[in-house]
């Protein structure tokens, strides 16, 4: 293994303190219920916090004497199908309590498509048939456990407490990326640039203040990537690989968007094999795994992948459309009030151009020596980002947060792309310029986008 870039403990402490304060800013400023899908995900976790398992619920009975759909909303029926042992009255009361809190905190004035009517009896009156119950149970089991000590507190208190877990996960992610950067780079400026890119990226910092399974998905993906990078950087301990495999498997219980971690794992195993025969064996194992994945796809219900060839091509067409990539770019670079409001077009174009240029520059580092950069780790990062984008195309839905599991990899690429071309002597200056640009982006995002949209422009 090469010497790590960040051996200065005071420096790493400063990085973490800066990230803590930055995350705290977003934790406080993001208004209640302003995380996309937050009410639905909170509802799910709150039932788990009440002592119900996030599986084994009671299914809808089409032969019931009275059609249950006339008695309960679709979202309540779906939640009851998922969560075990929860009674119908509790489902209705919980949704009403959350809706009351949403109205009290002016959710309906902020989210333009929701309409300002404050009096709603169930979640379907916000978004019909929508639910978090179809999501994998991992995040809700963890969040439910976290919320359990305060399960009898008010909805507002529970929401704040639940958001604290997102804040801690943000901090944990920054620490993981710090470790990742330390094994990927021997140059301090490169490592710091990567961590700052991750911690200061506004849509990521915003996740310190919202409830969403994307938050845990990002942290788990960062952990797997870090373990894989360690392996590629020369950590031959078997347990590193085992941990990576275990966390990769667990990530599937959190959100399907983390599938890219298996690519990271595969690339790592392949690159760390010491002989051609070994690589062939690994490639064969990969094919077997792919066949297994194909079998699972054919036998399980999932909205993530298309189920027929026609649907597959339809998804691809939709996924490659300008609309999808525009929505993806806006949602990734900066969208507000449940993505109903945007930054200005020139801002998006400038950010996209910067990202494209740094990625291009980072890509060239795969073929030209950049001092202090581990090329295998960089290749690993590119494979993760490419697969993550492929997943979005396959899904056909351009939500920026679906790319978040690849953000640690992207942060490393951007750092290499911006700082890498400079000589070692110039890199500290380049780092300061990079940090200044990040702060500028943060100012525009927070004070020119998030704050005005969440606090100044409301619907009457």
């Amino acid at each position: 293994m090469h010497p790590p870039a960040l051996t200065d403990r005071r420096l790493t402490r400063l990085v973490l303190v800066a990230a803590l304060l930055h995350g705290l800013a977003y934790f406080f400023i993001v208004a209640p219920w302003m995380g996309e899908d937050e009410p639905w995900q909170f509802e799910y976790a709150s039932h788990v916090a009440d002592g119900h398992w996030p599986w084994g619920g009671r299914p809808y009975d089409p032969r019931a004497e009275v059609d249950e759909r006339t008695l309960m909303s679709a979202s309540q029926i779906q939640m009851r199908e998922r969560v075990s042992g929860v009674d119908d009255g509790a489902l209705e009361r919980r949704q009403r309590a959350i809706l009351a809190s949403m109205a009290q905190h002016d959710y309906f004035r902020r989210v333009d498509w929701a309409g300002v009517c404050p009096d709603r009896s169930d979640f379907d009156q916000v978004e019909p048939f929508f639910t978090a119950a179809k999501q994998p149970p991992g995040y809700f089991a963890v969040l439910g456990l976290w919320m359990w000590p305060l399960s009898s507190a008010s909805i507002d208190t529970q929401l704040t407490w639940a958001r604290c877990s997102s804040f801690l996960l943000y901090l944990a992610s920054v620490w993981i990326v710090l470790q990742l950067a330390s094994v990927a780079f021997t140059d301090r400026s490169l490592a710091l640039a990567a961590v700052l890119a991750f911690a200061w990226f506004p849509m990521n910092a915003r996740q310190a203040g919202v409830i969403n399974n994307d938050v845990l998905a990002r942290t788990t993906a960062a952990l797997v990537l870090m373990l894989c990078a360690k392996r590629l950087a020369g950590d031959d301990r078997l347990r590193t690989l085992i941990f990576a495999a275990v966390f990769a498997a667990l990530s599937l219980l959190i959100k399907p968007t983390t599938t890219s971690v298996f690519v990271a794992l595969g690339v790592t195993v392949f690159l760390s094999a010491k002989s051609i025969a070994g690589r062939l064996a690994i490639a064969s194992s990969g094919l077997v795994l792919l066949a297994g994945a194909f079998y699972v796809w054919r036998t399980q219900q999932t909205t993530v992948l298309p189920r027929t060839v026609a649907a597959f091509f339809e998804r691809i067409e939709r996924g490659f459309s300008l609309e999808t990539f525009t929505a993806l770019g806006k949602g990734f670079l900066g969208g507000f009030n449940w993505l109903t409001r945007d930054l200005s077009t020139p801002t998006y174009l400038a950010l996209a151009a910067f990202l494209a240029l740094t990625m291009l520059s980072g890509f060239s580092a795969l073929f030209h020596t950049r001092k202090g950069v581990s090329r295998p780790v960089l290749a690993l990062c590119f494979s993760v980002v490419a697969f993550q984008l492929a997943l979005v195309v396959l899904r056909g839905v351009g939500h920026g947060r679906y790319v978040m599991p690849a953000l640690p990899a992207l942060s490393l690429i951007v750092a290499v792309g911006f700082i890498g071309p400079f000589s070692e002597f110039r890199r500290p200056t380049a780092l300061r310029v990079f940090a200044t640009l990040l702060c500028l982006y943060d100012v525009v995002f927070l004070w020119g986008g998030l704050v005005p949209n969440e606090y100044l422009v409301w619907s009457s």
Partner: protein
């Protein structure tokens, strides 16, 4: 530290750049679904609102083009009441009306002491207009059968709202049905009333009746029938019957009459006072509009302090401190490199 101060100042500049972008009162209504219809001579359409700040100087109204001959649209602003004292007048020439769905601005001399005052504006025209304001009905829409491509004529029309199956998706998914809106090509309510009757298709029991008003010609817009909340509407079947004046023309699509069902109880809104039609208040709906008063820094600060509470202060402080620590971090990194 200097870096933190520079960015803090920059943040203030970026934030206060919004002072010209924040309306005093605004109805944000997306997606826009129900337009009011053409404005007929002697049947002005309007809206009431309460200004938050001083210096009211413009009102934007969202207009949808309907086709037909363009005419100028007059704007009248009154104080306190739909028939109150006239304060300002403005006009948008026919040639300035938009080609597509867009805001149209009516500007006038600023009203210095507009803070806290009630205003009503009215839109009128010398001939039926080629554009229609959008209306936001105060309810939660669910079943939305959009504006269709054919016209159905008749004075007695009926149909059913059904669950799934037989529908692919239930017509009524929520409880608390409160209103139905029908797309209208032309209904002259001055020639006679329009009545909606809702009944149980199994028993024939009449559940609700509603009359649409006020008496005025109605063209290329949506006609709303409001009734007392019908609570148990979730996933149930309802029969509806419309009695309309002779010569009425409704709009239909592939699924039947173009219509929208609204649920949930009514609510009042302190800053918007409801739409008006010929000076008569319609508290169940609003025109889609926004009013602009003086965009001062003080107004922005007032709004931030009222809406942001302590969390906002803590967040701002944490953000500033994060910049200080970041500066310190970069300084230390530079020092380490030079060692």
């Amino acid at each position: 530290m200097a870096r933190a101060v520079v960015f803090a100042l920059l943040a203030l500049v970026v934030l206060f750049a919004w002072r010209g972008e924040v309306p005093d009162v605004e109805i944000r209504y997306l997606p826009r679904q129900t337009q009011t219809g053409r404005i007929f001579p002697d049947h002005p359409l309007g809206q009431g609102f309460v200004c938050e700040f001083d210096g009211l100087h413009a009102v934007d109204v969202a207009l949808a083009p309907l086709g037909g001959e363009r005419v100028d649209i007059e704007f009248t602003l009154r104080a306190d009441d739909p028939k109150g004292h006239e304060l300002r007048r403005a006009r948008v020439a026919a040639s300035e009306l938009p080609e597509s769905d867009d805001w149209v601005r009516f500007e006038f001399a600023p009203i210095e002491d507009s803070s806290g005052a009630r205003f009503y504006f009215e839109l009128s025209a010398a001939a039926p207009t080629s554009h229609s304001p959008w209306t936001r009905y105060r309810g939660v829409p669910y079943m939305i059968r959009p504006w269709g491509g054919r016209v159905v004529t008749g004075s007695a029309l009926e149909g059913e709202l059904l669950p799934a199956p037989p529908r692919a998706r239930t017509d009524l998914q929520h409880a608390d049905l409160r209103a139905l809106a029908f797309a209208v090509d032309g209904v002259d309510l001055a020639a006679g009333p329009a009545q909606l009757t809702l009944s149980d298709p199994r028993t024939g029991e009449v559940l609700r009746t509603s009359r649409a008003g006020p008496g005025a010609p109605h063209a290329s817009g949506w006609l709303f029938f409001e009734f007392e909340l019908l609570h148990d509407t979730r996933w149930r079947a309802l029969h509806y019957a419309l009695e309309l004046p002779q010569g009425s023309r409704l709009i239909a699509g592939d699924e039947g009459l173009s219509m929208v069902a609204f649920h949930s109880s009514a609510w009042s809104e302190p800053s918007v006072l409801g739409a008006t039609w010929r000076g008569e208040a319609l508290h169940d709906r609003d025109l889609v509009f926004r009013a602009w008063s003086e965009g001062s820094r003080a107004a922005l600060v007032t709004r931030l302090s009222e809406r942001g509470d302590r969390r906002f202060v803590y967040g701002s402080a944490a953000w500033l401190l994060s910049l200080v620590v970041l500066s310190s971090l970069l300084r230390r990194a530079r020092d380490r490199e030079s060692e």
